[in-house]
Symmetry: C2
Subunit: 256 residues, 2 copies
Amino acid sequence: MNDVPDQPDQSDPSLRLLWRHRTGAREEPRAKRGPKQKVSVDEIVDAAIDLADAEGLAAVTMRAIAQRFGLGAMTLYSYVPNRDALLVLMADQVTGRTELPELPADPRKRLELVANLAHDELRAHPWLLEVQDVRPWLGPNMSDRYEWQLSAVDGIGLTDLEMDQTVAVLIGFAGNIARSELMKRRAEQVTGMTESQWWEANYDTLSEVMAGSHYPLANRVGTAAGEAYQAATDPARELDYGLARIIDGVLAHVGR
Amino acid sequence: MNDVPDQPDQSDPSLRLLWRHRTGAREEPRAKRGPKQKVSVDEIVDAAIDLADAEGLAAVTMRAIAQRFGLGAMTLYSYVPNRDALLVLMADQVTGRTELPELPADPRKRLELVANLAHDELRAHPWLLEVQDVRPWLGPNMSDRYEWQLSAVDGIGLTDLEMDQTVAVLIGFAGNIARSELMKRRAEQVTGMTESQWWEANYDTLSEVMAGSHYPLANRVGTAAGEAYQAATDPARELDYGLARIIDGVLAHVGR
DNA sequence: TCCAATTTCGTACGCTGTACGAAAATGACA
DNA sequence: TGTCATTTTCGTACAGCGTACGAAATTGGA
């Protein structure tokens, strides 16, 4: 019998699930009775990650995951409270796969590394962009990542708050580039045409429909882009350009 | 009988729908026979926008929109080819509601205006962030907007390609701030707690679970953030800080 | 051996977008 | 005015989703 009255547990249940491999010292108490679980949470999460990598986040359905193990769909709910929690577990688990390299001494190179690492990861697992919209996750691997990101901007001359905000700007920017790359790939997949093919196929309709409007700058810029790299956009160069400007701004701010 | 062989029309059908109010000079040919349509595409799109503003994009279902007009769900498909096309129409239409102010002379103020306008709009219509992921849209109001954005960075000393990339960085950043604001609001709605309440409710679990890990920088930064503004993040200040750094970087690049 | 605890999972519900085809409404023409 | 081709309306249906519920199966401890 407890002295303290039973107040409803307001704490997020998926927190313990996220940190299941690092809970203090003791192992999580195995169930004493009942059938042994046939798979593990990690296996389920890994299977879901595979599925998302291969076919996109929309293909990550409870039924599809369960089928990979020959389980019934509802069985997954004895491992994971619901689909959203699974997505968070996927995000943290895939984050843990990327090892965090030593940081170079040069501040500019440090910031570039933070952005490029995020960008590469999001290119490899584009579904992370969609998961991000579901919930901010506070898992062990994400925490490690954040600590590493902060260490990259530490000692440069930023205040504590500015350190956080600088990291946010950098990884946000990397995410935007990754997002535009994803959209470009998706558009090509949906339409079955490359970007330049799309513009060609729609040229007549566009010029007819835009006859009454005038876009001198957009035309000039669009022409320049088309000549520079047979497409309207080139995310790789956007990354280099934008990253250089942001880092310039940050380093100028701390007076270098 | 046509001389040219019938080649399948590869052009995007929703393009004509997007530009329905500006097609050259002549009106779109009204149907000669059959019942008159009871509503208009604009009314449908406006209703969908209202719904999205009030209850989020997930509430924008074909059935819900149709019900607003006392129509059957399938009736909408005589106005709009499918839901995705409707979302694009919504995005362009709501973009047209924001009037584009005169641009100030000062380059810094011009760039700030571009970012702030995007940010305010996304705050008022957060579902635009989700629509953006569906498809890049090329409607009349988005085209006007893009031309205006380019004019804001024109004459500053950027190349044509850099103009486009600069706009992309600015509005992408504004979008990221709006996204984190949206997530914060959503989290409070889902959990029923404010951010600081969440941290309080999960403090015990967190410190237990993170006992084996060390996050000196994250702790320092988190403490600083908590003291500065009773929360882990403050999007409004992130906007000011990041925007200043980005614009610094751009203006330094063109040598001012 | 028996029971309590736990996992497994079939069924079902409400929800989604939308394919299909019948029914209703309308303007043009005989 | 009657007829018909055209167009809009929309009821029904289907596949797929997350998941609530409850029964069945499995297991270790007493």
